[in-house]
């Protein structure tokens, strides 16, 4: 591993100034991805800026505008917070799946998002909960709907010197349920061969789905939404047949590759199974 400089500023302003300097500067919001990438020469850095000491990036709260997750908040904290407050079941589930307990304690949801792996476990949950990425750089701030945040495997729309400041998720209505499931050959310490997050809002008087959000992991260069499946489900009375049809439509949004973790055909099949299972869980949660 080539040498690099390391800074751990305690204010957002000084972090942004450091990151704006010339050279290849990388933020670290846990380091469970970036340290490994540096060690194995998959990424380079002249300067690593540790964000873990900046108070506003470590803040997690729920208020009138929704759930605010600072970009350096660990997966464990997000899991504990969302488990206690409720309303974001898929996020609570996915933050407990990332890597291992050690990685969840150190790694952040913001880091998982910015690492932009197509397989990232927290991203489908954030997408179905309609997260908005609030970014900051020395030249100002931006708000980007998370679905527009990814540019390719390992790539985001963040510009040089720009970091993710926080993720904001609107509070779902009471008649909403969400779930995330991924498929891995083992039971832990693994990367999703395929993952599906599903969210449905159901009108209890009619049993009609008023909102459906389905997001897929590991089946495209970026995490994707299954729009056709969502559109079909919205306005439909949800039952086993509707779930099967939705699952078939979700497969159509998957454009997977064949690699060492699974064939394209198998991944499509997994999308069908996981969509069916997550929607079934949502229904159980609404009952």
């Amino acid at each position: 591993m080539p040498n690099f400089d390391y800074e751990a500023p305690t204010s957002l302003m000084s972090a942004l100034e450091l990151l704006a300097q010339p050279g290849e500067n990388r933020p670290l919001a846990g380091g469970t991805d970036v340290i490994d990438q540096l060690k194995s020469n998959r990424r380079n850095a002249d300067l690593v800026v540790d964000l873990k000491r900046i108070p506003e990036l470590l803040n997690i709260e729920s208020n009138g505008s929704g759930l605010h997750v600072g970009s350096a908040v660990s997966c464990t904290e997000v899991h504990n917070f969302t488990t206690e407050k409720g309303g974001f079941a898929a996020l609570a589930e996915s933050t407990e799946l990332v890597g291992s307990v050690h990685i969840q304690n150190r790694g952040s949801v913001g880091g998982n998002v910015c690492n932009a792996a197509p397989s990232a476990d927290t991203i489908p949950s954030l997408l179905i909960h309609e997260a908005v990425a609030h970014t900051a750089s020395a030249s100002g701030e931006r708000e980007i709907p998370l679905i527009d945040f990814f540019a390719g495997p390992g790539q985001t729309v963040l510009e040089k010197g720009e970091i993710l400041k926080e993720l904001v998720l609107p509070t779902p209505s009471a008649n909403t349920a969400s779930a995330y499931l991924r498929f891995i050959p083992r039971n832990e310490m693994d990367i999703a061969v395929a993952g599906v997050g599903s969210l449905i809002e159901v009108d209890p008087s009619t049993n009609l789905v008023t909102k459906a959000r389905i997001a897929l992991a590991s089946v495209a260069p970026t995490p994707v939404r299954a729009y056709a499946a969502e559109e079909f489900l919205e306005g439909t009375k949800i039952d086993a047949d509707a779930i099967d049809k939705t699952a078939d439509l979700a497969v159509g949004s998957a454009v997977p590759i064949t690699d060492v973790r699974g064939s394209a055909e198998y991944r499509k099949e997994l999308i069908r199974v996981l969509t069916r299972r997550t929607l079934t869980i949502c229904l159980e949660r609404l009952a």
Binding site: M1, R186, N187, D259, V260, G262, V273
Partner: protein, 765 residues
């Protein structure tokens, strides 16, 4: 933990055996105090990085090391040109053998790289980062050649040829032209064609397994100091200090007595660390730099370029009559050896039908070189693959003739005095007893627990055999001035050797294990001791300790005779006390006597080795596996698992259990998730523990163990080998359980979710 011991040990009762005596090296290991290879750094040490082939098969056109050599901090660079080109003599790499010239070329590639990661140069520098940068600056011009990693493809006439001079040898002589087939071995008895004709049912299947790695926790990590006066010191991470010294002597052309090997704690080996890989490289760099050189491999290097277990293609054909007589068994085993000849296919041939006595048998075994890392021993090398193939076929045959699979096994089981396909006659074995124990067990008879998910469930069994090794082990017992006892051994302690030896010494000397301190010596401290391999150490070392202990007691009797004022023959030693036969009141404890007789500079010391003629005590283990199978994804979850093993005589149940559990878990990983994945260029696509999937604790149920005792014929205590047999039956039992659950016969390892999914899809067509 549901361990129990079911003994048939004929009154072989020992006070110190069967006790959960505390592991003597345990505290240091769990508190991080123990010194492993990577923990040790010699004063003034340099750090080395190996330059490896990025291609699976390529000719080295030129190597330019000048830019690396010119870097500040670089103190030595070596290539094959710095190693002796003519090497001779024997090398000892444990249960998987290799010729010395091949070993030399494996350690440092000469002219050609035969697998991805094959070393071709190395750099030693003042720190590892400089060494890594210098390694990148070594310029190598390659001529890339077509590569072949599949053993069947490698056998084809038009396959890329790895070694231009490799001529296959077999019973019928040598082949006419070079090929990738290094050897063809045959075995068996009778006439299999006649046997199949006499059969009511014949089942034939072909199986395919991938390369797998031992997955030891500690990557290879060694330090070597080649002194200016010609002495070589090695701080070793090896399974055998003496074999390593012998190998280094022959590989480097240095007298044995100039090499001193000092064993450090070893973080797992399972057969792989019998083969010297980095030690000779560190030695050459140290010789050039005049300083100690330390090499620690990365996990990627370990996976790509140490010695995994063979991938294989095995066809098995078995025939039986309706009433369950195994008329004929035939197999063709093809094992990939990696870049140089010497796969354990012969072991596969020995083990595939070893538990049974087919009336007619025929086995053909092919050793084939491929552009993959040269395989090494891995816990019962060859047996796990062979047993998976044999037991899967046998299970289908039993189902087809409508017989209970265990009854069918009992009816055809090998017994003491029977012989195997290699005509080796079995010493005392209890395979029938094991099968009957399992058949009567709750683990086999209780209903398989229903799946909480509503998935199909099933149960399978498999039995596996392993001969276990022998070789020489040495021990010295010395009584100290305070009457305490030092036992010095030459065996590297991979799994509880010091603890077990303390128990054996205490048993022999009539004292308590706490009064015995066991030391692992370097190569100057004790006579020759072979590799800690082949499940052989406790069996052989216990006899050495016993012989030395008997001598110690005799010496003490002679000295106590003087004190008692009687002839030595009238001194008794019983219940931990010496006394004159005619005077019960003269009792002196071992400790007191030890102190008395060593007072005036007089030593009590005895050194012994086991008898060279000692026979291998065959080992065998049987697994009962329960699974549930996700019908939508093909994922197999093991829900219950019990391993039965005959250990002859159990010294320490805690250590025996952990060997059984560890071996079983490695077998489970082999069954369900572990494999090397190669692309069409012969490059490994999953060289990390992320994608080379070993089971984690969350993937496994409790591994239950049942220890059986059918004592071995010879040796001091009836002890059999324990370490290897547990890995042998798990894939077979799990494959049979999957078949029971969802009705598909898995012909490939690992039985990964996608493969099971595909197999279910195919069978429903």
């Amino acid at each position: 933990m549901t361990t129990e011991i079911r003994s048939n040990a004929d009154g072989l009762e020992f006070k110190q055996f069967g006790k959960r005596y505390r592991k003597v090296d345990g505290d240091d290991k769990v508190t991080g105090q123990a010194v492993f290879g990577a923990d040790f750094t010699a004063k003034g040490s340099l750090f080395a990085k190996i330059v490896r082939s990025p291609y699976a098969h390529a000719r080295i056109v030129s190597i330019d090391t000048s830019e690396a050599e010119a870097m500040a901090g670089v103190e030595a660079v070596c290539t094959a040109a710095d190693f002796p080109s003519d090497v001779a003599g024997d090398v000892d790499t444990g249960e998987v053998e290799i010729g010395i010239q091949f070993l030399a070329n494996l350690i440092m590639g000469r002219r050609k790289a035969l697998f991805e990661g094959h070393p071709v140069a190395a750099v030693a520098a003042t720190d590892i980062h400089i060494a890594e940068e210098a390694a990148r600056r070594i310029k190598i011009e390659w001529e890339v050649l077509p590569a072949v990693t599949d053993p069947i493809e490698a056998m084809a006439q038009d396959a890329p040829l790895l070694h231009e001079g490799l001529i296959a040898t077999s019973l019928s002589g040598s082949a006419d032209a070079p090929s990738n087939i290094a050897g063809h071995m045959e075995g068996g008895k009778g006439d299999v064609e006649k046997g199949f004709e006499e059969s009511d049912v014949v089942v034939e299947r072909t199986y395919r397994t991938a390369l797998v790695h031992q997955g030891y926790l500690e990557p290879e990590a060694e330090t070597v100091h080649w002194h200016a006066d010609g002495r070589i010191e090695v701080w070793a991470n090896s399974q055998g200090s003496f074999p390593l010294r012998q190998n280094m002597s022959n590989l480097l052309g240095v007298d044995v007595s100039k090499i001193k090997v000092m064993p450090l704690e070893v973080g797992g080996a399972f057969g792989a660390k019998n083969t010297p890989r980095v030690t000779p490289i560190a030695a050459i760099l140290s010789q050039k730099a005049g300083k100690p050189v330390k090499i620690v491999l990365t996990r990627e290097e370990v996976l790509k370029a140490t010695g995994p277990a063979s991938g294989a293609v095995v066809t098995v054909k078995m025939g039986a009559t309706k009433d369950g007589v195994l008329k004929a068994a035939q197999s063709r085993l093809v094992f990939g050896a990696g870049g140089f000849p010497g796969s354990p296919v012969l072991r596969g041939m020995q083990t595939i039908f070893a538990c049974y006595q087919p009336e007619n048998s025929k086995v053909d075994a092919y050793d084939v070189v491929t552009n993959a890392p040269r395989v090494a021993a891995y816990r019962a090398p060859g047996a796990t693959v062979a047993t998976f193939c044999g037991e899967s076929t046998l299970d289908d045959l039993a189902r087809e003739i409508g017989m209970d699979p265990i009854d069918f096994r009992i009816k055809n089981a090998s017994k003491t005095g029977d012989s195997n396909v290699d005509d080796e006659e079995y010493a005392r074995i209890g395979i029938v007893q094991m099968l009957e124990t399992v058949k009567a067990s709750d683990e086999y008879n209780r209903p398989v627990k229903a799946s909480k998910n509503g998935f199909p469930v099933g149960r399978g069994v498999g039995i596996g055999w392993w001969p276990c090794g022998i070789e020489i082990s040495s021990a010295r017992i010395m009584v100290n001035h305070d009457g305490g006892v030092d036992v010095t051994i030459g065996a590297v302690d991979l799994h509880g050797v010091r603890t077990g030896t303390a128990q054996v010494a205490a048993e022999t000397l009539g004292i308590e294990p706490e009064e015995v301190y066991v030391h692992t010596a370097d190569t100057e401290g004790i006579p020759y001791t072979g590799n800690a391999a082949g499940s052989r150490i406790t069996r052989t070392l216990s006899q050495a300790v016993y012989k030395a202990g008997v001598s110690v007691i005799d010496q003490m009797k002679a000295k106590m005779a003087v004190r008692f004022g009687v002839d030595a023959e009238f001194v008794e030693y019983e219940g931990g006390n010496f006394y004159a036969r005619d005077n019960q009141d003269s009792k002196v404890s071992f400790k007191e006597a030890g102190s008395l007789v060593t007072k005036n500079g007089s030593n009590i010391v005895a050194t012994a080795s086991n008898d060279p003629g000692m026979r291998a005590a065959n080992g065998y283990a049987m697994a009962v596996a329960d699974v549930e199978v996700d019908p939508d994804t093909g994922k197999v979850q093991l829900t219950d698992f019990t391993l039965f093993q005959d250990v002859g005589k159990c010294v320490n149940p805690t250590q025996v259990e952990s060997q059984m559990q560890g071996g079983a878990v490695q077998g489970i990983g082999w069954a369900l998730s572990e494999e090397y994945v190669y692309d069409d260029q012969g490059l490994m696509r999953n060289a990390s523990f992320l994608d080379y999937r070993m089971p984690t604790a969350l993937d496994l149920p409790m591994i239950n163990t049942v220890i059986l005792e059918e004592p071995a014929d010879d040796g001091a205590f009836g002890i059999r080998g324990v370490g290897e047999p547990p890995i042998v039956p798990p894939p077979a039992a799990i494959g049979n359980a999957i078949s029971d659950a969802v009705g598909v016969r898995m012909g490939r390892l690992p039985m990964s979710p996608e493969r099971v999914f595909e197999a279910m899809k195919d069978s429903s067509k």
